[in-house]
Amino acid sequence: MFAVTGMVRRDVILAMRRRADVLTTLFFFVIVAALFPLGIGPEMATLRIMGPGVLWVAALLASMLSLGRMFAADYADGTLEQMLVLPQPLSLLVLGKVVAHWLGSGLPLVLLSPVLGLQYGLAPDVLKVLVISLLLGTPVLSLIGAIGAALTLGLRGGGVLVALLVLPLYVPVLIFGAGAVEAHSSGLGGEGHLSLLGAFLLMALALSPWAAATALRISLD
């Protein structure tokens, strides 16, 4: 267990000392979410319908933007190599890195989303569902993203490749994440969608650290 907590601590300290990285992701999210109302116009009805989807896509892109950093720095300075020869299960170390990545790129988005939701005139109860859906969905994005980041490690043009690999896998998360909010505002209730998101999260938690660890071993061979 200290493999996970130790890794989280290490990466959170590193992120605190390199705050620009976290802030870039956050500003990207804010700017993308703010651009849409400017482009679409001030009609409240349209914005209200589009809001959840736009916020979800913005969160997804922002999370993807920071994926490249998940392993790249450790790969470049050799600490990743050291991780592979630590007497700890690599999948747990990877899980620690994913948790730290989410704390730096997912959680801030979740916390900021109600403020941005106000731009789209979303009602308080809709905002609540939006926050819950992001809270369940963004960790899945980090977990799936870790596999893509590990597979493309050290490749030229890895950034674009990660997007191509990972975006199709993000689709179900997006559908059920944005769908939860929509279902709630249309009166159907978003619980079903949220339960499915929770199931995605559990499945990704179980499988993705292991898959990413295998991908890392291949990348470093």
Binding site: G6, R17, G78, T79, Q88, P89, D221
Partner: protein, 254 residues
């Protein structure tokens, strides 16, 4: 060059069984050393390792055996596969054929049990620029599962001649000072096997001396060291073996 290596392989295999390219030679098994049964859990053996990168055979039929209190100096010109061999010993690179064994068991099946015995200082320093020297050592030791105190980390760094620099973020350190920080983990490690890839690079005369002393001490205490370097390593204690990579006599430990 490729063909030259191949003919070497055939000659090397000629003494016993013919070399089987692409498959494990029938005699490639790790065997327990009968002369030192009590140290069975601490011996490193590599049997007919082969590495193919793309369509190029980097080396083949490389083997050695290392007992406690021995140092293996891997020599060879640039590009002869020294680093790859060391990474193979650490389990970072999978050999095409052959195997690396620890205490008579293949390291690929031992997993964490083998990594607990190993300290690896690679070509890259593996220190984080944002952390101080002390923090770097402490973070790694904590992840390893045997945390060290701040004073232990500080004393290891001062032994490597970094007194007064151990509270600075690693990004302001010079290349040699970073190398010393990376090597300081050897002084904290309590592992029998050290694998060092060009440990003397970027070190000044004084640091080279310190490191040589540390290596000699480790070998004298029944430790094992595998290293590559283009410098001479005068060690007084223990036994020194040499493994020459490439050229004539490919990969035969003397």
């Amino acid at each position: 060059m490729l063909f030259g290596r191949r003919s070497l392989l055939e000659r090397a295999g000629g003494s016993g069984q013919p070399g089987v390219p692409g498959g494990l030679p029938p005699n490639a098994v790790c065997r327990p050393n009968p002369s030192a049964p009590d140290r069975l859990s601490q011996s490193l053996e590599a049997v007919s390792l082969e590495c193919v990168r793309g369509d190029r055979r980097l080396f083949s039929d490389v083997g050695f055996a290392l007992e406690p209190g021995e140092l293996l100096h891997v020599t060879g010109r640039n590009g002869s596969g020294k680093t790859t061999l060391l990474r193979m010993v650490c389990g970072l690179v999978r050999p095409q054929t052959g195997m690396v064994c620890w205490g008579g068991k293949p390291v690929s099946t031992l997993g964490d049990e083998f990594f607990r015995q190993l300290t690896f200082v690679g070509h890259l320093n593996a220190i984080k620029d944002e952390l101080t020297g002390r923090e770097n050592l402490m973070v790694e030791a904590a992840l390893r599962g045997n945390p060290v105190s701040e004073s232990q980390a500080a004393s290891a760094l001062s032994r490597m001649g970094l007194k007064g620099h151990d509270r600075l973020p690693a990004k302001v350190l010079s290349q040699g000072q970073r190398r010393r920080t990376a090597l300081a983990r050897l002084l904290l490690a309590d592992t029998p096997l050290w694998v060092l890839d060009e440990p003397f690079v970027a070190l000044d005369v004084h640091a080279v001396e310190t490191l040589q002393h540390a290596i000699a001490e480790h070998v004298a205490a029944d430790g094992m060291v595998v290293l590559t370097t283009h410098q001479e390593v005068p060690i007084k204690a223990g036994r020194k073996r040499t493994l020459h990579m490439g050229g004539s006599g490919t990969g035969v430990a003397a």
